[in-house]
Amino acid sequence: MTSPQRSLAGGLLLTSILLLLFFTPTDSFAIPVFARKYGLPCSACHEAWPKLNSFGQKFKDEGYQLRNEKDAPIWLRPEFWPVAMRITPHWHFESAGRTAVDSAPSGEQTINTSGFDLTGIDILTGGTLANNISFLLVPSIDVGSGTVGFESANVRLDNLWGSPWLNFKFGKFEQDVPLSEKRMMTLSNVGGAYQLYHFVPPGDANTDEFASLGENQLGIELMGHSEDDHTRFAVSLLSSTNGTPGLPFGRSYDGYLHLSQGFLVPHLGLQRVGVYGWAGLRPTFFLTTDGVPIPGAGRGNRSFYRAGVYGSVYIGKFDVTGVYQRAGDNVFLANATSASPSAINQPTVLPVGAQGPQWNTGTIEAHYTYSPQLFIIGRYELVRISRQVLASNPSDFGNVDVFTIGYRYYPFMHSRDGLAWHQEFATENFKGLASSGRDQRFSSYFMGFDFAF
């Protein structure tokens, strides 16, 4: 890989990372509206909100129902309004090492910045429309741009024919992933997103914007579980739009599958193992009018996949989850090259040495729940690229290591609302990504009040 190519690839990745860091909504689901409805403290459903415990997971799997025959809205007090909000005013420090700077003598320097800030605000609404029919609607407002998006908007039909194995979800929803990013316990720019779901190798054009397990997707899901929720499955058929409304890409569909089995170990708790996989197609070119791509007219589909195994171990108050994921993108997708020679205004010949990238991700996340009011988290993620986008790239180019540590302290615990004091430090290193070819490191320190009411 030549130096200009490396710079370009590095620049593209840096741009996408910065976009990801600054525009990834840190919304997550901890919904006091359910606590208010049922009179249960936050800690009944959450190890520490927003992370679900086994009881909360079952409540969610039942379609936000306790199934005590008081789930239907008819049992609610008329003044009850199923809406909650969440936002996190905070102070954070960001450091971006070896950033290309025109005025720097070496062409690179570390950019440090800090200040008071806000996350996006989530408006969390959800509940039952009738027995075994429920909904979740999560409008999200970006505080920077003021734009409103719909993080989730779905209707669920649960326990069809009285069976817990037949539950349908229709609309926009989070995939049933092993580590929920919407219930993530870390919020900083570096630590607030899983590489597991967002990483693509430098130069890969099938970026996070087009295919990310971290984004809620549009589609239909069949989900089932045993009475005790130990055995679970979810299978989804998704539009190949990465959750973007308006069918902007092509006309294909993705498929997602997740199987898991939990088992109780005496004196330790509920352990779980599972497998998951996501495969789909994305267009490699668009039909155009006067050279302008026609939305929804993507053609020349090529494939990508993400597949993983995981295990979750509880030892009393300590729990650790390990995930291994293998991922790959088709060579045409990764190199932004049309798979059809008839495409107009788009490259139709692969660059020299072009390859379909493949990479492996390992994630270890550990928690210590001292009490429902104090929760400590540590996470290490690594990504190792086994096949680069271009054969000329160094074999370790773009490899990532991310380390995150933090804690959340909840000064009170009841069923009306929630407040957490959050502190977190996260740092990540990208191999060879600086314009000089040296490693590039980003770090975040975050502290703030996370509240939902």
Partner: protein
């Protein structure tokens, strides 16, 4: 630049280790809203205490007296553990339940109340919770649980059993609370109160597939032989013989909304709802003797 990152890293880690230490200190004391743990708790009770605060305290309250912060908004009201009085038991009325009775309630949840099924908790956790719940009442130290009632094998359903059950339903005046069609709308329904003098409604057989204390025929048998302590539902153990109890079970099944063999037989024989004004129908021949014995005893009084 390396030094800069190392300094940031070390400073941050130091600050972050100090802060949760302060938080932990806060968390273990009264400042957090949690009481200082009692000294005399066993390790299992201590574990149960933590679980109780996580899951149960919102309704059942810090003292286990059913006065949690959500109690005012809940109907029916949460159980008062300080009385050690439980609705769902396999033991006679007035006695303490078996551990398995309380565990079963935790696993099943209580239909029609805010008490959900805690099946997702581990068996160990449920045992820990039970151990802690028992610390709320001195009765658990001074009394033994009652002897579980015996449930004889369930006989085959016949038309005669249904007719006998219906006669009992009228004779025992079940209809006064539960209504002639089991809708929970009997003439006494609006006046019922629980042991704390709070209004309480009788069970509507036509709405529910499950009962508060289970869903099987055996569960239903057990409910009226043990009674639901703390409610107006008395124990009929002294007034109803085992065969008669099964007759009543079969008849009550005809009032429920789902399709049952009892309902099919009732339809076949044209069983109509009782007429409270009329004398109870004569039971079939093979049921005569127990009924004659019943007639010598007055119907049980509702307990308060």
């Amino acid at each position: 630049m390396q030094t800069s990152h190392r300094t940031i890293f070390l400073s941050t880690i130091l600050a972050m280790f100090l802060a949760p230490g302060v938080a932990a200190a806060q968390n273990s004391g009264v400042a957090s809203g949690y009481p200082v743990p009692k000294d005399d708790l066993t390790p299992q009770q201590r574990t149960g205490e933590g679980l109780y605060k996580r899951y149960c305290i919102g309704c059942h309250g810090l003292k286990g007296d059913g006065n949690g912060e959500n109690a005012p908004y809940i109907d029916p009201k949460p159980r008062d553990f300080t009385l050690a009085q439980f609705k769902c038991r396999s033991t006679p009325t007035g006695t303490l339940p078996l551990d398995s009775d309380i565990i079963s309630s935790m696993e099943r949840g209580l239909r029609g109340s805010n008490m959900p099924s805690w099946l997702p908790l581990s068996g160990d956790n449920r045992q820990d919770l039970l151990a802690y719940i028992k610390t709320f009442s001195p009765r658990w130290k001074t009394e033994k649980p009652g002897t579980p009632i015996a449930i004889p094998p369930e006989p085959e359903v016949t038309a005669d059993h249904l007719r006998a059950g219906q006669a009992l339903f009228q004779k025992l005046e079940c209809w006064k609370c539960h209504g002639v069609e089991g809708r929970g709308d009997g003439p006494s329904a609006a006046t019922l109160t629980d042991s704390k003098d709070r209004p309480i409604v009788p069970y509507d057989f036509t709405e529910g597939h499950k009962f508060k204390c289970g869903k099987t025929d055996q569960d239903l048998y057990r409910i009226f032989m043990t009674g639901l302590d703390g409610t107006p539902m008395p124990s009929f153990a002294d007034n109803v013989k085992p065969d008669e109890a099964w007759d009543l079970v079969f008849y009550l099944r005809t009032l429920q909304p789902m399709h049952t063999k009892e309902k099919a037989i009732a339809k076949q024989i044209g069983l109509k709802p009782i007429n409270p004004e009329a004398a109870p129908a004569a039971a079939p021949q093979q049921q005569q003797q127990p009924e004659q014995q019943q007639q010598q005893q007055p119907p049980p009084q509702h307990t308060r």
